[in-house]
Symmetry: D2
Subunit: 247 residues, 4 copies
């Protein structure tokens, strides 16, 4: 029986996770913490693993607290760039028995999208990403898009691919999207949407599109539970749930 | 028999237009001009209507030349903003018998996309545009996307719609696209593509998408011929081919 | 205050409608009937308008009961073909003060999709429909797809369009979809989906796609309430909510 | 220098292949045969490898001729089911030094689509295929769709997946598509399209879509040349170009 706490417990994702943890036979929901609550509750409740779905503004403080108190963390909050990951690794160096899993997306479809994108990357001249989310999302691009772009960039660099061709000479600011590791990323925010990502590859005469649609926040739950069960066995920092799958 | 000249005659679109003009029973191809050629050839050849598919950098010079010489113009070159349209109107004031038709897109599907987008605009909370083109395109966003955004903005203003909701607080520069009249526009440039536009509308629980795919530059031809035949009867400035259709 | 009953009140759509009727200031929810309940409850409760979201197997019996008892009906159950509509018209002839509105889809986006499809139909050589739904759906194609196909067929006939070109000589049964008024319709059933329709138009070198995604059953609610409020003023049979909109 | 013949040399694909073979330094175009020509020309010209892009009605006769004359074959003609593949294997048993490569699609994107589809198949409850082609295509479903469905079915069977859920009780004939190895396949034929395939996977709350768009028949060329160069080293029957890639 793993003792589990949830940070961001009153958010939409947080509530779904609390419900799923409470329903799982091998997990025990011991603390639900949200903005305004005392974070010390997590320690007092005996939580061994804490799930964090909060906000880019507060997640670093949460994570430092958890690691320093020897609590394993499963983090779904977005906004992790290289600098933030480096800080997390630093904290973990001082706590060698603690495991932290930070994933930009826990949906299996998102992970498959990234994996396939990385595999396809070396065959195409051009690649761009369009990610689409509900308009309440705070950050753009999404964490998933950042990671997808990074994986694509790495695969292209490995085979010495030139940058995607682009003859733009007249651009209205922002039209060509954000540059993430040399990959253009476009963030659409639209009422009615939930969480979607489309990776477009192109070469002469053909294109390949890989698209993931997450229509319901509960699609994150199986991946989060998988991480909660596996994080204690993976000390140090793990990025993404892919290492937990058998691909 | 209308005497027709073509500017940008050696470009891919220009060549398709020259072939179509030459093949039409009621049109006479009298001049083919490209970069490096003398533009005066158009006057000397007796061209009554000139089609211009050149480049944003040279089209204003071409247009001023045509209007000042009393030649009607059909312009498919992109990059026309309000300031450029205003200058064209000014030149036409001095030449009351001349007609100029500037269209960001001559494909019937593009015109229908704009029309439907304008009709749908008042029913939805959110709207964004994604336009996708081959990587040799010089301008971003495309002229079609500019015009689509303007038509949507006008329809939303007419019913007093609030701006599309957007809670972004952390943005990597460019991720949220370009702002055209309050509508976010994203420009994808990808090998293998030709010319595509997608307009996305959303409200609680549903989205509506209108997408036009132009897979072949010859899809522009019927609209261009329609304009060549009709421009002399429409003195002054006409924007878009929609007025020539029976919608 | 309109007295409203709901048939199929325990279904997912039915529950959403009951909640919305109960929440509306001008509507009074007086009866909730489902399979196993006595349908006479609707008469006894004084319902003036009854909303029916049940099943193709029982809806005709329900409708005959409602019309014969002088109760206006708003019907969202699918499976209405010309023969069923004819029977409904017959029953209404004997009850001249009663209004029945049967709509294959109450989402505004679905109505706009049909409208735009009808407008575009005359410009394209080819047209096909792909409709995609959750795998619990009982009928294929969807009622919306039937109606969209009928509207497209009518628009094409009006301008004398030939059938969509199709050189298929070797077909595995079913591959080319169902033939609805000369329009091929393909029904996808997939876990994770809700209700989606895509209309594809094509001519040489270009295609136009109109797609409606309904991600949440509550997207039906505004259209249903609109119909409940308007059905008593439209005696006889009305098909679709479009006549209630100001298009 | 490989001596290459082409069957179906006057078709659109055939002409592109002839041009590419003629342009390649290591290939020698020695025979171009089409309907009405004597097939014996291929033997007389000394062709070592023959590429066949003809028609399902004649390809079996062509193939038997080639194998029996000891000529290696690269076949892009569609319509190969298990029975036809079995016959090809039989012919090859009698000619142990001959290699035949039959591929439903030579575009790298099509191969990646199949590969990714097979990898994703075990994670999803539902799967369906929509393939879309120009209206001159003779067979439905496409050979690529047949093969994709077979690969998906195999991957699902390997992990003991139940059939895709489907509650359809009322179906207009053909609406639910063709059944290929338990996978529903829908074939759209539309003017303006070239060759496209979309594989849709779904589970609770999320979907994954893999789509390949071939906009230009020249996208087949690199895969065909790869096969021409490699077929002599692979005696017996090879299905698909994937074994020739380094995936």
């Amino acid at each position: 029986m793993i003792q589990v706490g949830v940070l961001g417990a009153q958010g939409k994702v947080g509530r779904a996770i609390c419900a799923a943890v409470a329903a799982a036979d091998d997990l025990d929901l011991v603390a639900e913490v949200d903005a305004g609550d005392r974070i010390e509750t997590l320690v007092e409740s005996g939580a061994e693993v804490v799930v964090d779905f909060t906000h880019p503004d507060v997640v670093m403080g949460n994570l430092e607290f958890l690691v320093s108190h020897g609590i394993h963390a499963v983090v779904g909050t977005t906004g992790f760039d290289e600098e933030r990951l480096a800080r997390a690794r630093e904290w973990l160096t001082a706590q060698p028995g603690v495991g932290v899993l930070i994933a930009p997306n826990f949906a299996i479809g998102a992970v498959l999208t990234m994996r396939f994108a990385a595999q396809a990357a070396r065959f195409y001249d051009s690649v761009e990403i369009v990610e689409l989310h509900h308009p309440q999302k705070a950050d753009a691009p999404s964490g998933t898009a950042y990671r997808t772009a990074a994986m694509i960039a790495q695969a292209r660099a490995a085979v010495g691919r030139a940058p995607s061709p682009d003859a733009t000479t007249t651009e209205l600011a922002g039209a060509r999207g954000a540059d993430v590791a040399g990959v253009r990323v476009h963030s659409v925010r639209l009422a009615g949407l939930v969480a979607h990502e489309e990776v477009l590859f192109g070469t002469a005469g053909e294109t390949l599109t890989i698209r993931h649609d997450s229509m319901d926040r509960t699609s994150f739950v199986p991946g989060v539970l998988l991480a909660v069960r596996g994080v204690a066995d993976r000390v140090g920092l793990t990025v993404g749930i892919e290492p937990l799958l058998d691909l």
